[in-house]
């Protein structure tokens, strides 16, 4: 029953991918920009979790929400301080400064990596696990406690986010701003505040992803680079700016990679995502869900 084991473990990896990629998709959906500092939100979450737990002696269970809060705070601050020129002045609402966003977020990424490198140090830390258990089997599926808890938290958060976007007032406002920023402001929706919220959510999800995986990834300053690249692949795969597309693409990629690693090549499993991306771009350039159903 290797197939079931690979499928379930692939889904779990996909959940981690989704936690990371959804925030990126939300930012693209609303501002039509790529946040090149998204990986550093992940890094901040991982470091906050590890340092708070190790240096301050706080329980890992308490460090987890603190890491999420740190990510949300950084996301919110980034939007307030660096992103506002993108849409400041309603006279230029249609001229989003894409190049500005590329330079600023890329610069921010380098700044944060080097800041952590100088302040905390270049060496990896090993974070404490949420639960100390050895691997165990549920039927044919081999799991470990940390991974199972991380997957559970991820799944709960993603379901919560989906409900939040579909049902809550703020979720409706996010959808409105993503679909028509100008129309949203005419309807009485504060598009600027909504954008702040999106950055905060994006930072929170990425940071939580980093914190949940901190015991496995042993964070170093450049730890966000690889998950960020994965997220870009997923966002394009799912359809640029589509939150639902990003969720589906994450799960799909997790499962396919899991099978590829066993049946084709473990060493090239991460390159497999790029291969899928190329195929999707050739046959369905708009991504899996595509432009017609792109929505938040």
């Amino acid at each position: 029953m290797l197939v079931v084991d690979l499928f379930v473990n692939g889904l779990i990896v996909g959940l981690f991918y989704a936690l990371m990629a959804v925030g990126l998709a939300m930012i693209f959906g609303v501002l039509k920009i790529v946040n090149f500092a998204h990986g550093e939100f992940y890094m901040i979450g991982a470091y906050t979790y590890v340092l708070v737990a190790l240096k301050l002696g706080v329980s890992p269970w308490a460090a987890l929400p603190l890491a999420a809060i740190a990510g949300a705070l950084v996301g919110w601050l980034v939007e307030r301080s660096l992103m506002r020129p993108l849409y400041a002045g309603y006279g230029s609402w249609s001229i989003m400064k894409d190049e500005y966003a590329v330079v600023v977020t890329f610069g921010l990424s380098l700044f944060l990596i080097n800041l952590v490198d100088k302040v905390v140090g270049p060496y990896p830390y090993r974070g404490p696990a949420l639960v100390e258990t050895s691997r165990f089997a549920i039927g044919p599926v081999m799991l470990n406690g940390q991974k199972l808890i991380a997957a559970g938290v991820s799944a709960a958060l993603l379901i919560g986010l989906a409900l939040f976007i579909k049902r809550s007032l703020w979720g409706r406002q996010i959808q409105a701003v993503a679909q028509n920023r100008l129309g949203a402001s005419l309807a009485g929706i504060d598009a600027t505040r909504t954008t702040s919220l999106i950055f905060a959510i994006s930072g929170l999800l990425a940071a939580l992803s980093g914190a949940l995986l901190a015991p496995v990834i042993n964070p170093s300053p450049d730890v966000g680079g690889f998950p960020a690249v994965k997220s870009y692949v997923i966002v394009v795969l799912g359809g640029m700016g589509s939150v639902w597309g990003a969720m589906i693409a994450s799960l799909l990629l997790g499962v396919l990679e899991s099978f590829f690693a066993v049946y084709v090549s473990y060493d090239y499993r991460d390159a497999f995502g790029l291969l899928i991306l190329m195929l999707v771009l050739i046959f369905r350039p708009q991504g899996l869900l595509g432009e017609k159903v792109r929505e938040l």
Binding site: R172, Q173, G183, A187, E295
Partner: protein, 240 residues
């Protein structure tokens, strides 16, 4: 009572004075038509009134408050709403959800927003398409939907930019009826339009702009017969 007024409002784009020294007043409860040839500055004026452009000079007063330079969302929350010539509905959610979103954003509770959305959809003849995504509606239906979004929490003043342009006559009549009904309930409108029969039928007063300046204001028929206005539209005899 004067609901909206401008004092010495001006906006230049490079060397072009799009709006120059505009002093306009909209009285509470009226429908004021803003007319003028293409390029006369109507839309620029509307952009400044609704917060989408910051004037170079002058001020905008709404309900005796200086609102110059305030953002559209701040003005919307004060009850000054603007509709664009091209619709700005949310195309990937249903017509009903468009209204609900606008209602909730403007402070209605959910039950109230749902009830008002249903009533408005009925009045605007959109009930049969209420669960279709707004992107699937015709241009005219989207305009009607935008009227609904504007009036789900009725504004004190609605600024309408060419609401009747490129709309089927039946829907145009639905819109005109909607505006008249809201006006009878006490709502105020500033309507920019090139459609003179509708302006005559709908507007109590009219103001005419030409080359960025206000050249006439008064009872609609008087303004349309004003030689200065006729000259602005048709050119002087020497040019004929």
């Amino acid at each position: 009572m004067t609901l909206l007024r401008t004092e010495g409002l001006a906006k230049h784009f490079g060397g072009v004075a799009a709006v120059d020294d505009l002093a306009l007043a909209v009285e509470e409860g009226e429908i004021l038509g803003l007319i003028g040839p293409n390029g006369s500055g109507k839309t620029t004026a509307l952009n400044m009134l609704s917060g989408f452009l910051v004037p170079d000079r002058g001020s905008v007063w709404f309900a005796d408050e200086n609102v110059t330079g305030k953002k559209p969302v701040a003005l919307a929350r004060r009850g000054l709403l603007r509709m664009f010539q091209t619709t700005r509905v949310f195309v990937r959610i249903s017509a009903f959800d468009n209204l609900l979103t606008a209602g909730l954003a403007r402070g209605l509770d959910e039950a109230e927003a749902r009830e008002r959305a249903r009533v408005l959809l009925e009045e605007l003849t959109l009930t049969p398409v209420m669960y279709l995504d707004a992107g699937q509606l015709s241009g005219g239906q989207r305009k009607l939907l935008e009227f609904g979004m504007c009036f789900i929490a009725p504004p004190r003043l609605a600024l309408l930019d060419e609401p009747f342009a490129a709309v089927h006559p039946v829907m145009r009549e639905t819109m005109a009826r909607f505006i008249r009904r809201r006006n009878e309930e006490g709502h105020t409108f500033l309507v920019v339009s090139h459609d003179m029969p509708i302006v005559v039928e709908l507007c109590d007063r009219a103001a005419c702009m030409n080359a960025g300046r206000l050249i006439a204001i008064g009872a609609t028929r008087d303004v349309l017969q004003d030689p200065v206005v006729i000259e602005a539209y048709l050119g002087s005899e020497s040019h004929v």
